[in-house]
Amino acid sequence: MAILYVRAAPTTDLNRNTEWFTYPGVWSTYILILFFSWLMVLSVFACSPGMAWTVVHLSHFFVTYQFFHWKKGTPFAEDQGIYNRLTWWEQIDSGQQLTRNRKFLTVVPIVLYLIASHTTDYQHPMLFFNTVAVFVLVVAKFPHMHKVRIFGINADQ
């Protein structure tokens, strides 16, 4: 089998926490992880495909909200805490808005929502939970929400 090679362009991002997102293969890995988790949910719970997509969508919501928009700072101490007030979403691409990576990450929850609602035939109560999840995620990714902390939730002292 022929081995496929890609060329990695050097980046100028000094933040090691977000620099890995600029290398090739990240988008494909993300989509493959979502697809395989759908297969796993289907095989473990033996439910309908629509319920499985809803489960994947909601757990994706919890995981990405926690790690992209709630946890602040970096998981290592070498950068001496200069990113301690910024969530991961605010750190990527050095804070530039509307880059390719950000657009991709905004589109993924929307596509997941469409798949989840279509495969459950837009029934309640799944539709309600899915809609709330996608609303929260998309609003959190707006350019105007950069460094905004509503009602002081998750702000620093």
Binding site: I3, L4, Y5, V6, R7, A8, A9, P10, T11, T12, L14, R16, E19, W20, Y23, P24, G25, V26, S28, T29, L32, I33, K71, K72, G73, T74, P75, F76, A77, E78, G81, N84
Partner: protein, 489 residues
């Protein structure tokens, strides 16, 4: 950098899995700790949030591959102390057993790390005459005649009018940059510059911009954009622009594209700061570094910095430049004014090793060492590439990283090599990008041809076992006997 696509996908997945397991363990640890009482009520936590997550959950799992203690001088063969762990690598205890291993990790480019027949007697004599420490700063009572002779020696060797020497290499970068440039200045540094330069740039207060590694065209576009914009907010012209590059990048083994960068800096009137920590003494026909190798006039590089820890077997760092620059540094640099001066035996080692390299000790050992390191590096690199490994770095560079990528291959490669008595240094995130973990090999002039062949055999076997031969191996040609010129010592 060419990456196999499937490996990239599996590497991201592995790191995701490690991260998920780490978070799960943290969650259980937090729940268990919530029940037990804490004696530190009201104290602020030592680590904020997730700061120590990487250390606790990823680094400590493979801790036995890093920080290995040695119990002999770091020559071509050295003694590695064995360690055991009773709690799954959380703590390691030293045993009394040692392993005699081939040293592929020390920056021992010219072989001065072990006892040398010219340098060591002179250093011991100097130790008896001047004692280990000068017990004073340079300006108070710490400048001996050795220090003056050493600075002159270094300036002559590097090809600049004057030089100043400090006791520590890291400090040379991080304490000089704040003195040279301040608020209102601009530092443009390569994206893969060493931590000491990043530290010094941050400490100086100047604006820092980064250009794509070793890409002169991107440097030019960054320079043009910054000169046109001026200082942030006020848009006044910059007071000073310094471009910082390194001679050999220690994680890539690549040489800097110095001629293009120097011509761009001359065009836009920016100063060039060249950090030759790994290239001084190791490359170039007479060992004078990357300027000699690439044919750049040393008068074009404004500030040349280097360290003595790699090729000269000593400790300390130097800055070489014009007489006015060095005089200014002697008045203002805090390291010169307040830090203890470099110890006298270390200074003597620097003087003696430079004399050996230049041939002034009366023998041709210096030229032989330089020829041997060049031969060794080129031979080793080409053999590794023939076996199918992905090896980075340019020809003539003694640093060669072998790409591993997957996080599981890092401890596998390191431990299997140690079992076969070859000690390699593996580097992972965050010293390198997440995807690009590597095993870095540093070739020395004291490695003989048999040592290199043994290393190749071991690395070949381990590479097959671990699965790091990402490129197709070249077919085995007929064994051509390369005419080896017998070196008469």
């Amino acid at each position: 950098m060419i990456i196999p696509y499937l490996t990239a996908l599996t590497t991201y997945f592995s790191y995701g899995l490690l991260f998920a397991f780490g978070q799960l363990r943290d969650f259980f640890r937090k729940s268990v700790d919530w029940w037990s009482a804490s004696t530190l009520q009201g104290y602020a936590p030592i680590c904020l949030g997730l700061e120590d997550f990487y250390i606790r959950r990823l680094y400590l799992r493979i801790q036995d591959c890093f920080n290995r203690p040695i119990s002999s001088p770091p020559d071509a063969w050295f003694d590695v102390v064995e360690r055991v762990s009773n709690d799954n690598n959380k703590t390691l205890k030293r045993t009394t057993k040692v392993n005699r291993c081939l040293n592929l990790g020390s920056y021992n480019y010219l072989g001065f790390a072990a006892a040398d027949e010219y340098c060591t007697p002179r250093v011991i004599e100097c130790l008896k005459k001047y004692t280990p420490s000068t017990c004073s700063t340079r300006v108070d009572g710490g400048t001996t005649i050795l220090h003056a002779e050493m600075e002159e020696c270094v300036a002559n060797f590097v090809g600049k009018p004057a030089a100043i020497v400090f006791g520590m290499g890291y400090v040379t970068n991080s304490a000089i940059l704040p003195v040279l440039i301040g608020k209102g200045g601009l530092i443009i540094s390569d994206s893969l510059n060493h931590n000491s330069i990043v530290n010094g740039a941050r400490g100086s207060g100047a604006t820092v911009r980064v250009f794509q590694h070793n890409t002169p065209s991107h440097l030019e576009s960054v320079l043009r954009e910054q000169i046109a914009d001026g200082q942030p907010r006020t848009h006044r012209p910059w007071k000073k622009i310094i471009v910082v590059v390194e001679g050999i990048y220690s994680m890539e083994g690549e040489l800097c594209k110095l001629p293009e960068i120097v011509s761009i800096c001359k065009k836009y009137k920016a100063f060039v700061y060249l950090d030759e920590a790994h290239s001084i003494g190791a490359v170039g026909k007479s060992g004078r570094g990357v300027c000699e190798l690439l044919g750049v006039d040393t008068a074009d590089v404004d500030i040349m910095m280097g360290t003595f820890t790699k090729s000269f077997g000593s400790s300390g760092g130097y800055i070489a430049g014009s007489k006015e620059l060095i005089q200014y540094l002697k008045y203002t640099c805090p390291t010169h004014l307040y830090a203890t001066s470099i110890s006298a035996p270390a200074a003597q080692q620097i003087i003696s090793s430079i004399k050996v390299v230049l041939g002034e000790d009366g023998s041709s050992r210096g030229a032989q060492k330089l020829a041997r390191i060049r031969e060794n590096s080129n031979f080793f690199r080409s053999e590794l590439q023939k076996m199918g490994f992905e090896v980075l770095g340019d020809n003539d560079s003694p640093v060669m990283p072998i790409m591993l990528y997957n996080p599981a291959k890092i401890p596998a490669f390191s431990r299997e090599c140690l079992k076969r008595n070859v000690a390699v240094v593996t580097v992972a995130f965050p010293a390198t990008p997440l995807l690009l973990a590597r095993a870095r090999i540093c070739i020395s002039a004291s490695h003989s041809r048999e040592d290199l062949l043994k290393a190749l055999e071991v690395i070949g076997t381990v590479g097959d076992m671990v699965g790091v031969k990402y490129f197709p191996a070249e077919p085995n040609k007929q064994q051509v006997e390369v005419g080896q010129v017998k070196k008469v010592d």
